[in-house]
């Protein structure tokens, strides 16, 4: 490093020197020499000859120097030599550089990191390039996504009746084939499970490109006649769907009244308890959101209390079995106070009863 700089300095110095102090041309020197001789007359011939010889030699020398483009010796002396000693800073930096840990840390860790960062920054600084990279990434992603291994070509719905399956298909139309990456199974599952008909739904993609929707349908347990029509209810009171006519599901008990859908299990328990009179039972009516009435064929009702309706019903059934109570012409059996069952006779029945009593009395009397 140092010899190079010295070399360039030596190269540069003559140009400056020639600019600063132009070399005496041969003509100038030749002219100056006789002038000096004229001004100083007391010179011997030998001295004069010596001077002339010297001047000539000098002129030759200067001419040669000018030809070769080298500086006069004087110019070389004037050049200031650079101090070869390193400055304090340079010395300290050099020592730091020679410290093994610093060197490895810089060369092996910091420099590659910086270089990588700079390159990435320089390359990605251009938005067009970044866009191209994103596009190619998207393409790559698309190509992976659309591979046949990941495509869903078929939807199979299991555990659903044909109507429910149709419902699911119409409600969640899938444009098949679709990539399994585009299907959000969890969201789809949550949405499907929200259907009234279904209790739960499990989605999975089977090998072979089949989206399997395994559903558990809600089992209708009762019919609820409300203002809007007949509604199917499951055991928990969830509305499953509507039907047109009662005759479509004659197997289900019929409920009515506001709030009946919230107490389906109670109603079912009552229906269960009322098995002995199942043939007569037409339905249950929720009265004032607090208690049940059993409606029997022929319009008779059994009014049950709010609390413990089943023992009260059992009491009625016992009466029926003992005295054939329900076959008689009654309008209602009022069990709202279980300690005091009350029977309301059908209109005309009272007169009939009195007449029968009179006949019985007459026969006796």
């Amino acid at each position: 490093m140092r010899p190079l700089s010295l070399f360039t300095r030596t190269g540069a110095a003559p140009a400056q020197a020639t600019q600063a102090a132009p070399q005496p041309t041969p003509a100038m020197t030749a002219a100056a020499a006789p002038a000096a001789a004229v001004e100083e007359p007391p010179l011997t011939v030998a001295q004069r000859a010596a001077r002339a010889r010297k001047a000539k030699l000098r002129a030759e020398q200067a001419e040669q120097a000018a030809r070769q483009g080298t500086a006069a010796p004087r110019a070389r002396v004037a050049r200031k030599r650079r101090d070869p000693a390193p400055s304090r800073i340079a010395y300290k930096l050099h020592r730091l550089w020679l410290t093994p840990m610093f060197r490895t840390g810089l060369l092996r860790i910091a420099l590659p990191l910086l270089l990588g960062f700079a390159l990435a920054h320089g390359y990605l600084g251009d938005p067009a390039r970044r866009g191209a990279i994103y596009a190619s990434l998207a393409d790559l992603r698309q190509s992976v996504k659309s591979r046949p291994e990941f495509m869903v070509r078929l939807v199979s719905i299991e555990g659903a009746s044909p109507e429910v399956a149709d419902l699911i298909r119409t409600r969640f139309p899938l444009e098949l084939p679709v990539s399994s990456f585009d299907l959000d199974l969890e969201v789809l599952q949550a949405e499907i499970a929200e259907l009234d008909v279904l209790e739960s739904a499990a989605l999975r993609i089977r090998p072979g490109g089949v989206l399997e929707i395994a559903v558990l349908q809600r089992q209708p347990a009762a019919l609820w006649r409300s203002g809007e029509g007949l509604v199917l209810l499951d055991r928990k009171g969830n509305q499953i769907g509507a039907i047109e006519r009662r005759a479509q599901r004659p197997d289900l008990p019929l409920l009515a009244g506001a709030g009946a859908q919230d107490r389906v299990d109670e109603a079912l328990a009552l229906v269960h308890a009322a098995r002995p009179i199942a043939a007569r039972l037409r339905g249950l009516v929720r009265i004032g959101r607090r208690r049940w009435d059993l409606v029997l064929a022929g319009g008779a009702t059994i009014r049950l209390p709010e609390r413990d309706p089943i023992p009260a019903l059992a009491q009625v059934i016992a009466l029926d079995e003992a005295q054939d109570l329900l076959a008689r012409a009654i309008l209602s059996v009022d069990m709202r106070n279980p300690l005091r069952p009350t029977i309301r006779l059908a209109p005309g029945a009272e007169a009939q009863m009195r007449r029968i009593k009179a006949i019985e009395m007459g026969e006796k009397s």
Binding site: R58, A72, R76, P86, A90, Y91, H94, L98
Partner: protein
Amino acid sequence: MTDLYQQQRAMRAMRKAALEYGVVAILDVGTSKISCLVLRFDGPTRFRESDGVGTMAGQSGFRVIGAATTRSRGVRFGEIAAMQETERAIRTAVQAAQKMAAIRVDHVIASFSGGAVRSYGLAGQVELGGEAVSEDDIARVLAACEMPDIGEGREVLHAQPVNFALDHRSGLNDPRGQIGNTLSVDMHLMSVESATIRNLLYCIKRCDLELAGIASSAYLSGLSSLVEDEQELGAACIDMGGGTTGISIFMRGHMIHADSVPLGGENVTADISKGLQVPMATAERIKTFYGGVQATGMDDREMIEIGGDTGDWEHDRRTVSRAELIGIMRPRIEEILEEVRARLDAAGFEHLPSQQIVLTGGASQVPGLDGLAPRILGQQVRIGRPLRVQGLPQAATGAAFAASVGLCLFAASPQDEWWDFDIPADSYPARSLRRVMKWLRDNW
């Protein structure tokens, strides 16, 4: 005294740390050049006995991995005269050596030649009471040496026990474990001006280096230039440096006397410069190329171009015959040698069994010195070169590097000095906790 003791011990500790680190720089601050070598210590396990390579003069344990020499600046007569200049020169040398070694050096062992070296012989004696000599006894006997008045502003540079005597048996190198009644020691003490050391310390500190040792170059030249039997039988080493000429007398492997003459090669150069009216650089060049001390008829005809930069053609075209040059150089070299002779006589060199004198150092390379020196110094004179050490570049193997090589040897295997032994307990101040500690350690 204790201050110096602590300072030297600190340097020894630093040297130990450097050896553990494995790299140490040696720095020879001379009048004409500053050389820096970087040594790598491979440890004693590198060669085994079975490899057939034993330690030779304790020098096979290291290798020179970096070497640099630069022209000295700001040093006169081996003493620092211009701190900034010298600091720059040291920086130059250290940086170049580090660059060559490709490793950073933190510890440096330095040598210098100036500082008005004075040498003292001390003797001490203690009673042992018929017990085996322990390390503590050696410390006691060293402490028993009567300290001479070395003068104001001077420091002890070396204090080496050179001879132990147990009862009537003298010439023991290591009396430890031997049984006797009286242990006595001869110690060689060398003092220099403390300002010289302080300046050097400051310069080295300014270069971010830790000083791990310091030595006199006269001693180091003796270490490197005298062969082993010369050191044993007795010889004087004359280190003819640039600004000073160092004298060290060795006997039985130890330096027993040191001195220095503030004359050297630079004086010869200055004479040439004055005599021929040329700049010092030219004079130095003429001296190294054409110099000599023995004129022959041939030399009258050999003309030397002196050159010059004045621009005056006649002045710049001067020539001088080699005989004239020799005529300038010879009286000065004779003067140096006569001064050396005087110092040797003053030291009683003629009483030594062997009168061997070895000339080394840069100024000893003058052609014809081997003819001139015997006339002044006696017949047993040879021109010496330093030992070869591993890895030293060819350019640094000359006589001018005797002190540097000696410094390498000194760094690798320093001689026991006074401060390598513990201070005996009774020299601590009374009621000192350290004294108690010391007593406990010695007696338990």
